[in-house]
Symmetry: C2
Subunit: 386 residues, 2 copies
């Protein structure tokens, strides 16, 4: 096991009715900016719950944050934050709204001229305006971590950053929100969380026995609740397990002391930036090819995963490892998530070369848990995903 | 799943050599009191590592905190803290030293006349002097939680309290300490952590799928590493998994949204207070009888535990549940931990009645996950443990 540091100060309020407690989590006399997305919170009752809980606060609103939070739009919010002297941010939404809010938390206290530098300078962010979140879409884990991903349309870029200042002060997770989420987004959420675990697990054996078992626990739970939620998202208990699993999948616990990969995400961000394919769906396109291409280095963990998560008992290590990849594809298909790029676009020719070139230009060599994958490997993996 | 709140702000520094980082975790110019136990840290090199890392700090020492930290001794430390205007406490030891330090953290900021009231008033503690810990004995989980247990010899009492102010600011967990721990204490540590998980798990099915699997993961890991550590405590990787499992067993994660029991601990504290039996060993004496006595209410979880943790595949629910209890006893025996009170003392006659009477006097009725156990049930369970 590698050495590690762990600290996660976010307070979680979990369960039905917890939104009512909002006012006791935000400092009194704060000037609060509430940020949200396309307005689904006005249809499912959450907007009403939140604004009711915040009666008495000096509250302004900033709606319209799109999926893959867009830099230009956030710059508009930043202007209002400064003009209105906002001092507390409240994200009400899914990962995109929370990531956007997190970026604004950093940007509000950024001393340089160009907040885009926060995404390109490669430095951990140590100052941020305090913020909280009301989660409306379980998926990204952003509600209990300090990372964010921002998209810039003009350059078709999707970049990430983070830092110890960027944990939410609190996040409210009410599983009752799940019942109003469309199936398409539920499938995305399950796929996203599932792949988050895989990125931190599907590397090589490190002797981190507990972290492995925790990762497997999250995968098993997602597998168990997925069909229940897809059939009946109003099943509270399934929704609660789904929601908590998504949070635990990316809150900095299961990756402690172990190697990580994240190549699937880095490649996936490019597919989203180029084609606009939903984030989670890009992961399902790329993960199976990534594991097949890197089979030799990953087969021990793939076999362990097949055994423990999918109860594969037949075959040698290699056969079990292959079964693990197939089970993963079947799982995505069971959620009606397609696993080939050509199923999303006809215009895929040249994509692999294009992304590989972008990676070279950014000096993003040395991907994967062994830092051994080069742009040409990325090209081959993406070709395998067509 | 029940509603829950979760917040654990303790920073963990985990791995070999991490003690060197001590000075960057304590505010400069602090007046630090370093607290420790019987002096084993002077023999195993940890005292030297800590004092070296703290060169330049204004450091005073307070040694001699005994297992089951004793109120009178801590009152001595409190006097020094006040006289010397100490403003940061550093526990260097196991659960007893950390619990004692935690109590001093609360006592230093307590406004009443009698700090013993902190243990009897039943209020969550919201103010405490900042403190950190260097863990030398994995077992209690005190290094990443906000609870503490204090003993008072004159009244043969052992009482607990806690509160949000009492999390350590940081804890340093270097698995290399494990190699110098005597077998007797290693066995205690494994048994203690194992039983901590059972107290939060062995209740009734609550539909908290992920919490169940996390709890099972810790049990499985402890079972896997126990024989390795007992044979060779210098096996770094086994020690690391043991250490992290002990922390995760009682840091407020696996009990979220689920019923808890803790009757075994409440009864066990009495056996320690009366006979001086090691804390962990009292748990091993009582847990099997507790599960046999409450078999009907616990059998569903006992069977799940037998299946998932011990791979028991034969038999119906009842048979599996029984096998689960037997496997637990066998596990304790494999650590050379005895499971009957009469194996520790000849003077056990009347103990059950005596403890039951104490419970009645304290108005401690309604124990267990259903709050249904009365002092007379406690009496029967303890009699079964003779």
């Amino acid at each position: 096991m590698n050495n590690f540091e762990f600290k996660n100060p976010t307070k979680i309020l979990f369960g039905k009715g917890e939104i009512e407690k909002l006012s006791s989590e935000i400092p009194q006399k704060s000037k609060v900016m509430m940020l949200y997305g396309g307005g689904s919170i006005k249809r499912n009752g959450i907007y009403e719950q939140v604004t009711k809980a915040l009666l008495g606060f000096n509250l302004i609103e900033f709606g319209g944050i799109p999926p893959n939070p867009e830099y230009e739009i956030l710059m508009g919010a930043l202007e209002v934050i400064k003009e209105e002297k906002v001092d507390f941010l409240l994200a009400v939404g899914g990962g995109s709204v929370i990531d956007g809010t997190k970026f604004l938390s950093a940007a509000a206290f950024f001393e340089g001229d160009n907040p885009w530098d926060l995404l390109t300078q490669g430095k951990a962010i140590k100052k941020g305006m305090p913020y909280g979140a009301v989660l409306t879409l379980p998926a990204t884990g952003s509600e209990m971590n300090s990372g964010l991903v921002i998209t810039r349309k003009e350059t078709k870029e999707k970049l990430s950053t983070g830092g110890p200042a960027l944990f939410p002060q609190f996040s409210i997770l009410d599983p009752e929100v799940v019942k109003s989420i469309p199936q398409h987004h539920l499938a995305n959420g399950i796929t996203d969380a599932f792949t988050h675990v895989l990125e931190q697990y599907m590397t090589y054996p490190m002797g981190a026995l507990l972290q492995d078992r925790f990762a497997e626990s999250i995968l098993q739970t997602l597998i168990e609740v997925a069909p229940v939620i897809m059939k009946d998202p109003s099943d509270y208990n399934a929704a609660a397990n789904f929601m908590w699993s998504c949070t635990m999948a990316l809150n900095g616990l299961i990756n402690k002391g172990v190697p990580e990969d994240w190549t699937v995400h880095l490649m996936g961000h490019e597919l989203t930036a180029i084609f606009g394919i939903d984030h989670a769906r890009t992961l399902a396109i790329l993960a199976p090819s990534h594991y097949r291409y890197n089979f030799e280095t990953k087969k021990a963990k793939l076999a362990q995963y097949a055994e423990r998560v999918w109860n594969v008992t037949e075959g040698n290590e290699e056969e079990k490892a292959k079964a693990g990849i197939e089970k993963t594809e079947e799982f995505f298909h069971s959620l009606d998530i397609k696993t080939k790029l050509s199923e999303y676009t006809d215009d895929y020719s040249g994509t692999a070369e294009n992304i590989s070139k972008r990676f070279s230009e950014r000096n993003w060599t040395g991907l994967g848990e062994h830092q051994s994958l080069k742009p040409e490997d990325v090209e081959k993996i993406i070709e395998m995903s067509y």
